[in-house]
Symmetry: C2
């Protein structure tokens, strides 16, 4: 039986986004998927041309795809926060990407900034909540610009929102050899939200007797990421703590050039979106200097999400092999050379 | 002229707090200060005995001291958050400790978990706001324990609160050779608070033409602490980001056993409070295993705050010398042996 083509919306975005997405698509085509990509020019250029970040009509159209591949958004010419909130975060919220899945895995051969640390020590997955917390955007300012200004931000957490991501994290932990789940929060200060998270983890834990759970404050967790990364298997945490800890995770696992992510809607009521953790890096844009590996690993997550696990494994293996090659001093490749080399491996 | 004695309130607290404070006091006495310490038994034991964390009468009494030395608070027998909020955070708030000063400095000879990093690469000071932000404690829960629960936390930021800590940070930067100040925040998501912080830094910067300023998102900063710590000189940030980044700072600078802090009231309308960054570590309490160095370095900050800069320098030097000694394999000392050795150096 012929399976239908995968309908993929591609949002290259800004800066190096375009460059890395090109390589991601190369690999995706080479791995033998029937894929039908449609490009969307959302990002700084469109914003300047039309004032639009994400028109409602485009949002509706995007809803019809099987998945979204995103490069990066953000440009110094646009006031900070506009593209981030009105495009990237809006997609995460509208498509209910409540699981932001971010593996923190040191590939053999990759240099970590941590001394005495090997690939066995860093192999965890962070399940970051993607639709609540301080990212809700609520808050405000009063008497702005005066000596009496006050500015507030609100963290909104719901039983519904916390429970579904905690359940996802338990499932993930259950499927891994170590079966360990760590809640990262700051329950001693953020007592209302912390209480909700901790109670939810305790309650859901009863349904997963094989999974061992523990708890770590975000400050201590940041320390342990550096001093004892091996203590983490699956980490579940809120939107902001997840943001921080996954950049730290990227750093210890060899850098932002390798960090992949999936913004997942597990119920598939809307397309999930895959993107490298890195930003648009305007300083190196257009120079062929960006490492497309994070995007290619995000493509592997995309394949996995669409049920193409053999293809996903093939892409991951190709990246792993390419990385080992880098060890032997094979550096200085351009963005597209790296993409070509990995493409050759998946087609071979 | 005889100067009057320094009146010092001592709060050993819980767990290893008592052990490390004993050593801090030894050093303080040996360095030749006229010090008159009074102990306060605040912490878990008193809470269990009387239900009190910080009675108003004690708070009033504490107000009369020149400074406070605190060990650590927190014990598993007390529900999480109680001692932290009603004792530690209450002291910071009531005594308007709006500057939480946390040096991140790698002493020569100390092992850092970062590869290829030496003492020159890690020498910064984090100026953490201490009285606002998400630590305000505002927020609440509705329909608690039901599937419709919502829990909120609020970050409160005022022009008054932000400006005073930013000014302090600029002064600090101005006094250091590199004269560089980095604001760490998350302006692209926490737009209201971020806008207040960024505008305040921009405005105050005009009064400090010699200080160069830059900005870093908290997620990127966490990464750079590990990959390029040398890019930071003085960091100014809010209460929660400061909490996270200073634990990470402690990790890269050789661990929590060496991280000192001062909760400063720069206007001296109430006593400042000095404490190691580490917690009460109930798992190793009472075994002589705790490293008192962080407390001894906090004592140096206390001396400096009281204008005894020669004594402060002497204590810091004694610690630096002791640390170099550790290099030669001199490990396995107990808490009080380390305290004795450093004491011998300052008296010698
Ligand atoms: C660009 C920014 C809004 C975003 C976030 O904070 O989630 C980014 O840092 C990320 O981690 O994907
Ligand atoms: C104990 C806790 C409330 C405290 C904080 O969050 O400020 C601690 O982590 C610190 O950094 O001093």
């Amino acid at each position: 039986m012929e399976s239908r083509n995968i309908r993929l919306a591609v949002i290259p975005g800004d800066g190096i986004g375009t460059e890395v997405v090109t390589e991601g698509l190369k690999v995706l085509e080479a791995v033998g998927t029937k894929i039908e990509p449609t490009h969307y020019d959302l990002g700084a250029a469109r914003y300047h041309r039309t004032g639009e970040t994400l028109p409602d009509s485009v949002l509706q159209e995007l809803r019809g795809y099987d998945a979204i591949l995103l490069g990066a958004v953000g440009d110094p010419s646009v006031p900070p926060g506009i593209l981030e909130r009105d495009l990237l975060l809006r997609l995460r919220f509208e498509f209910d990407h409540y699981v932001n899945l971010r593996p923190v895995k040191l590939f053999p051969g990759v240099e970590t900034p941590l001394a005495d640390t090997t690939a066995e020590d860093i192999d965890m997955i962070v399940v970051r909540e993607g639709t609540e917390g301080l990212y809700a955007g609520t808050g405000g300012a009063m008497r702005r610009g005066t000596p009496h200004e006050i500015a507030t931000q609100e963290s909104l957490n719901t039983a519904h929102g916390v429970e579904r991501v905690v359940r996802y994290a338990f499932d993930k932990a259950q499927s891994r050899p170590r079966k360990k789940l760590t809640l990262v929060h700051k329950t001693n200060v953020l007592t209302f939200a912390g209480d909700l998270w901790q109670r939810t983890v305790n309650r859901v834990a009863e349904e997963y007797p094989e999974v061992s759970t523990d708890y770590c404050h975000i400050d201590a967790a940041s320390m342990f990421f550096v001093t004892q990364p091996g203590r983490f298997d699956v980490v579940v945490t809120d939107n902001l703590f997840g943001d921080i800890i996954t950049d730290l995770g990227a750093a210890i696992a060899g850098g932002i050039g390798l960090a992949a992510s999936g913004n997942i809607n597990p119920e598939r009521t809307a397309p999930s979106m895959f993107e490298p953790v890195h930003g648009s890096a305007p300083d190196i844009a257009g120079q062929g200097k960006a490492d497309p590996t994070a995007t290619i690993l995000s493509v592997a997550m995309l394949l996995d999400h669409l049920g193409l696990s053999a293809e996903a494994a093939k892409v991951e293996q190709a990246v792993a092999d390419d990385i080992v090659e880098r060890l032997t001093g094979w550096t200085g490749r351009t963005t597209s050379q790296i993409g070509d080399d990995i493409t050759a491996r998946v087609s071979g």
